[in-house]
Amino acid sequence: MAEPILHVESMSRHFQVGGLRSSGILHASDDITFDVYPGEIVALVGESGSGKSTIARVLAGLYPPSSGRIVFEGKVLGKTSSRAVRGKMPMVFQDPFGSINPVLRVGHALQRSLRLHRRDLTSEARHSEAVALVEKVGLLPGEEVLRRFPHELSGGQRQRLGFAQALASRPSLILADEPVSMLDVSIRIGLLNVMRDLRDDGVSLLYITHDLASARYVADRMMVLYAGRIVEEGRTDDVISRPAHPYTRLLMATAPDPRLPLDTSSDVEDLGEPPRVINPGPGCRFAPRCPLATDHCRAATPEFVEITPHQRAACFAVNPAP
């Protein structure tokens, strides 16, 4: 297999929280290890508070990791990201209304990216490149779209523009943080298809989402995150068809699907919530909600168990396939 473009090794990010009377260390993400290879979409799935956006922000260089190592295209990322790295690993944000300057024309933002990251281009080449970029993400006709103001675009069109902007620096990996969760159902799939097209053109994506079904639709591999730790990872098909970790199974059981009758048998009366992980002790973080938890789970942190060569889960209760 090819070299990974992104290699994340034992990465943790902690935050100091609290005030005078009580303070603690919030473990937003702990011991995160994964690779992203060229031309694949990897989904990072978790509920709010699971630490998925923290991981994206550390990768984007918005803040440094507390510990661990990030190797991108063979180079260890320093404390602050250089412009070149940001260009090669840009981010698309969740909110298409908050992430675009409303007073400048669409073309301006793209031209600016091109000017920063593609200094060799002449101004004519920049313009035709900008047209090509918006048309690439399905905004037609490109010439006209570039002259518009952001308020003249719908949410879906703005999010496409977000991807065009990310593409301007010819990235090898795009960090997409919940890029469709604020869009209407009928246009979400269009954006997911844009992501698949980009993948087919050789760009890798880290797709951060809470929606398992959309992860299944676009991702080649997926990781499931709970309370700051990866609890299961593997090829998307394997994880979806044979979820191993009890938390993945809970997510699968609660994902609403109108095509199926309501299955209340597998429906645990689960009123638990993911914990805020402040000054955590040892033990599996899912243990308080887990139907299979034993005393051992509360005392020791589970290591990854290989279920197949392409799937592993951090749980004492799972056994490797024979």
Partner: protein
């Protein structure tokens, strides 16, 4: 017996370009204890319609026509004290964002007591007993009467809102996207809880959401709203299993599933029409894959066939002699 009868409801927004028809001729009945879900995408008028029914509209929105009869009384004509008598006692509203709907500076108990004091002559002991009782109903420990909203998780805040809505045993609870800020696991448990309470207490529910999969297993009937109109209304299972309107069909095919063979999805390209100068024919014509000349010329009516109503010329051919 119907608790609510809505007839030909019209709501307009004043805009610089002229009035926008946000809700255009919506009619439906809600039987005692019935759960009616209304699904539609942003801007379709679903929340505006709820606000009109609950008499919560404020400028630039105004109700310009129609009737909203609650137990035979036209709510649209109630004013002042008469309207106040209906609120909380007969109809309560659960808003989309509990974080914004709850007062951050008052404890949950104080906010529950506030409703009781404004609408009953109960003494403090009775208010406290009832407050504890409604928290029990939504599985929140009664010690949280002393908690402030920030001390509760998102799911608990939303359940506290539902507890508040239950205080005076209303016959109708109006819910505006109560699950949209929640994770799938919390969503599912909230929906199960609403359903159990409805079975037990017998109130009717009018539930608006953009995510039809949330209600697919819980509502009795489902209305699909597009550009200010109901385009389809029928028993929930029937609308899901055999959607008739091309927009409903498109919506069903717009979100990926966790089961079955993976397949290509397309969504619904295009945007909803302008509501200031709506096109003459069917409002969905510009996005419809099955559009005909007739659709562009004549606005279709909502035609009911055996309890399943559709607004589409393809489903309800116009008579040539008509």
């Amino acid at each position: 017996m119907n608790v609510l009868e809505v007839r030909d409801l019209m709501v307009e927004y004043d805009t610089p370009a002229g009035p926008a028809q946000a809700v255009h001729g919506v009619s439906f009945d809600l039987a005692e204890g019935e759960f009616l879900a209304i699904v539609g995408e942003s801007g379709c008028g679903k929340s505006t319609m709820l606000f009109a029914i609950a008499r919560l509209l404020s400028a630039p929105a105004r109700m310009v026509g129609g009737e909203v009869r609650f137990n035979g009384v036209d709510l649209a004509r109630l004013e002042g004290e008469d309207l106040r008598q209906v609120r909380w006692r007969d109809i309560s509203v659960v808003m989309q964002s509990a974080m914004n709907a709850l007062n951050p500076t008052l404890s949950i108990g104080a906010q529950l007591a506030d409703v009781c004091r404004a609408h009953t002559d109960w003494d403090d002991a009775r208010i406290e007993a009832r407050s504890a009782e409604v928290l029990d109903m939504v599985s929140i420990d009664r010690t949280h009467l002393k908690s402030y909203p920030f001390q509760l998780s998102g799911g608990m805040r939303q359940r506290a809102m539902i507890a508040m809505a239950l205080l005076l045993e209303p016959k109708l609870i109006i819910m505006d996207e109560p699950t949209s800020a929640l994770d799938v696991v919390a969503q599912r448990s909230l929906m199960r809880q609403v359903e159990n309470l409805r079975q037990r207490l017998g109130f009717a529910v009018l539930f608006v959401t953009h995510d039809m999969s949330v209600v697919s297993h819980f509502s009795d009937r489902l209305a699909v709203m597009y550009a200010g109109e109901f385009v389809e209304l029928g028993r929930t299972r029937e609308v899901f299993d055999q959607p008739r309107h091309p927009y409903s069909v498109g919506l069903m095919d717009a979100f990926p599933s966790l089961v079955g063979e993976p397949r290509e999805l397309v969504g619904i390209p295009g945007n909803p029409p302008s509501l200031v100068n709506p096109p003459g024919g069917c409002l969905f014509a510009a996005r419809c894959p099955s559009v005909t000349d007739e659709c562009r010329q004549y606005r279709p009516e909502l035609v009911d066939r055996a309890g399943h109503a559709t607004r589409c010329h393809l489903v309800n051919p116009r008579r040539n002699d008509g």
